[in-house]
């Protein structure tokens, strides 16, 4: 803390009233927290200035939000900011979006947390953190996995692709472009997971992998075209609280078929289908 006070004036010639608290001693925990964030020297002062208004009591609460911002601003290289001491440390080497990364992680750290908190790849989202929502979907060795239920320690030699590796603003993946075209999101929180999942879905369909909706699973022919219900079933691991499902379906359908999907606002269509199915089944019942 002594160091921090020395030359403080040089950082900001006029010290604002709400920054006065900076002169108070930092506790050991607060020091450690700043170290863990990899914030030293001038950056530390700048960081403290930024959170100044909220006060140190709020610091811990702000850490998560700040980390993203800092990472985005390039203030912190999270890969170099290994926590001071790691319990049950495991060394992991993995390829992330084509780049080799070596990390020392706590055995408890999930792949999702490693991506977000250690590598600054905040595209993959933490929705439920219990494998129920799909927001954390990434590709591991080419297959869609849930990064929240994957321990980072188990990723030795794995090839991991996140939404950042699927495409970027200048080179959108066709699936990303289709999501934009069809307005396949509202808040966008589930979107990285939806897109990672949808990209893998296309690949699975190409390989002829079957689903619970596949009519004849023993057939040796590969399904050329997925029905709407097939796509719905295959995407059921990705929830969208905004309910953008109809547009997500259209986006995936366009990329899958290569044909534009007309906007239809006929909500009764599917209900008619269902009614028809029931009639069909009733007819079948009588014949058994």
């Amino acid at each position: 803390m002594k160091e921090l006070n020395e030359g403080f004036e040089s950082y900001d010639l006029v010290m604002h009233e709400d920054e006065m608290f900076l002169c108070e001693e930092l506790t050991e925990d607060e020091e450690k927290l700043l170290d863990e964030l990899g914030i030293h020297g001038a950056s530390r002062r700048k960081f403290l200035g930024q959170v100044g208004a909220a006060g140190f009591g709020m610091l811990a609460m702000q850490v998560l939000a700040q980390q993203d911002t800092l990472a985005a601003e390039g203030l912190v290289d999270l890969t170099k900011s290994e926590p001071v001491s790691i319990e049950n440390a495991v060394n992991v080497n993995m390829r992330i979006n084509g780049v080799r990364k070596s990390l020392k992680v706590d055995s408890r750290m999930t792949l999702l947390d490693a991506l977000r908190e250690r590598l600054g790849l905040t595209g993959s989202k933490k929705g439920c953190d219990h494998g129920q929502c799909g927001a954390c979907t990434v590709h591991v060795d080419g297959e869609r996995h849930l990064s929240c239920l994957t321990l980072a320690a188990t990723c030795e030699d794995k090839d991991i692709k996140t939404i950042e590796g699927i495409g970027d603003e200048k080179n959108l993946h066709p699936m990303q472009a289709a999501f934009v075209k069809y307005d396949a999101f509202q808040c966008g929180y589930c979107t990285p997971g939806q897109i990672c999942s949808a990209v893998a879905l296309l690949d699975e369909a190409k390989k002829g992998e079957v689903s619970y909706e596949t009519e004849n699973i023993s057939a040796k022919t590969r399904p050329v075209q997925l029905s709407d219900d097939e796509i719905r079933e295959r995407m059921s691991g990705n929830l969208c609280r905004c309910g953008a499902y109809p547009n997500i379906l259209k986006a995936i359908k366009e990329v899958h078929t290569g044909k534009a999907v007309a906007q239809t606002w006929n909500f009764s269509e599917r209900l008619d289908d269902i009614a028809e199915n029931y009639e069909q089944e009733d007819a079948n019942d009588e014949t058994v």
Binding site: R108, D129, L149, T154, V210, S211, Y212, I217, V288
Partner: protein
């Protein structure tokens, strides 16, 4: 999550030794259930032995039977040509469970050992004899809409969560296991999982440190007449309220052999043996199926909130048999 030591095993013998030598150690395969349970503080191992690198991933013919490796992924098992052609029932059951992401991660051995999704088991603020023996059962008198109607005890009314296992029960599978001394044994599928009795903390008959190496399925003639029906609260990605796995061997219009197993109704995959027996030597018909289903479900003892499962189970058996015999 509590701190734990993490080790990667290179050989199955290393893995079994590591787990056997520490009563708080557990195997880690796909992790889709245990990692979640550790986050919830329900599972509290102090060591995890990662078995993902073991050579137990093969799916192959063994004489007239088919062997599926314990560490083959659920997705790869469901899509394997040997399984799709010989046991489409198993493919259907696996694909009805979880989501694509989870099936890509989850292994066959792990699927057998996944734990109940009873909400009282998950909620550490409530009593649960399975989680903390001796604390009581929150579900018996609580919210038991999802719970058992067959084979439960006053200690536990939880249901077995797997779909894959319901098909394996109908297919008379055999579980191959190995211990730390290299001793191997085979467990008939019906004897693998347990009813709760006085020890609901034990889901199955594995000894601590024993590792599933493979699951063997005897060849049968059900491929053309089998069906897995799953009834759940939503169309996909939900656990079964009731599920039915059926396999029929029909020759000259007569049912020669039948298998019916139910999910969502008991602490283990529930073989509907009364209904199975009723079908033998008869022509498939709506009336026969209804009679068989009724005979089976008459034995059910529903709890306060799951009486619907008796009617639902009866109709599900009839529907599954119709689909299988069509």
């Amino acid at each position: 999550m509590r701190p734990f030591k993490y080790d990667r095993a290179k050989k199955s013998n290393d893995a079994t030794k590591m787990v056997a030598s520490n009563k708080n150690a557990k195997f880690l395969a796909g992790g889709t259930n245990i990692v979640d349970l550790m986050k919830e503080n329900v599972e509290r191992p102090d060591a995890l032995v990662d078995v993902n690198n073991l050579e137990l991933k093969q799916i192959k013919s063994m004489g007239s039977n088919i062997s599926i490796g314990a560490l083959a992924k659920n997705k790869d098992t469901a899509n394997h040509p040997l399984i799709k052609q010989n046991f489409p029932l198993l493919t259907q059951a696996i694909l009805s469970g979880a989501s694509a992401q989870i099936r890509n991660m989850a292994t066959n051995g792990g699927n057998l050992n996944q734990r109940t999704r009873c909400v009282y088991f998950y909620d550490t603020a409530t009593p649960c004899n399975k989680r903390e023996p001796g604390t009581g059962c929150g579900a018996a008198e609580g919210l038991n809409r999802m719970h058992a109607i067959f084979g439960y005890s006053d200690k536990c009314v939880a249901t077995h969560p797997s779909d894959m296992c319901i098909a394996l029960a109908a297919l008379d599978a055999v579980v191959h296991v190995e211990d730390e001394k290299g001793n191997k044994r085979k467990i008939l599928f019906g004897a693998y999982h347990r009813l709760p009795g006085d020890t609901p903390e034990k889901d199955n008959n594995l000894k601590h440190g024993e590792l599933i190496t493979s699951i063997e399925i005897p060849k049968n003639k059900f491929a053309n007449n089998s069906y897995y029906l799953k009834v759940r609260d939503r169309a996909s990605y939900a656990f079964a309220l009731v599920s039915v796995a059926t396999g029929l061997e029909i020759k000259n219009g007569i049912i020669r052999k039948s298998r019916i197993a139910m999910g969502g109704v008991a602490h283990k995959p529930w073989r509907a043996m009364i209904a199975e027996k009723e079908l033998i030597g008869k022509k498939p018909s709506q009336k026969l199926f209804e009679r068989a289903a009724k005979m089976e479900m008459e034995r059910a003892k529903p709890l306060e909130h799951n009486k619907y499962k008796v009617t639902l189970g009866e109709r599900a058996i009839v529907r599954a048999l119709k689909m299988a015999s069509a």
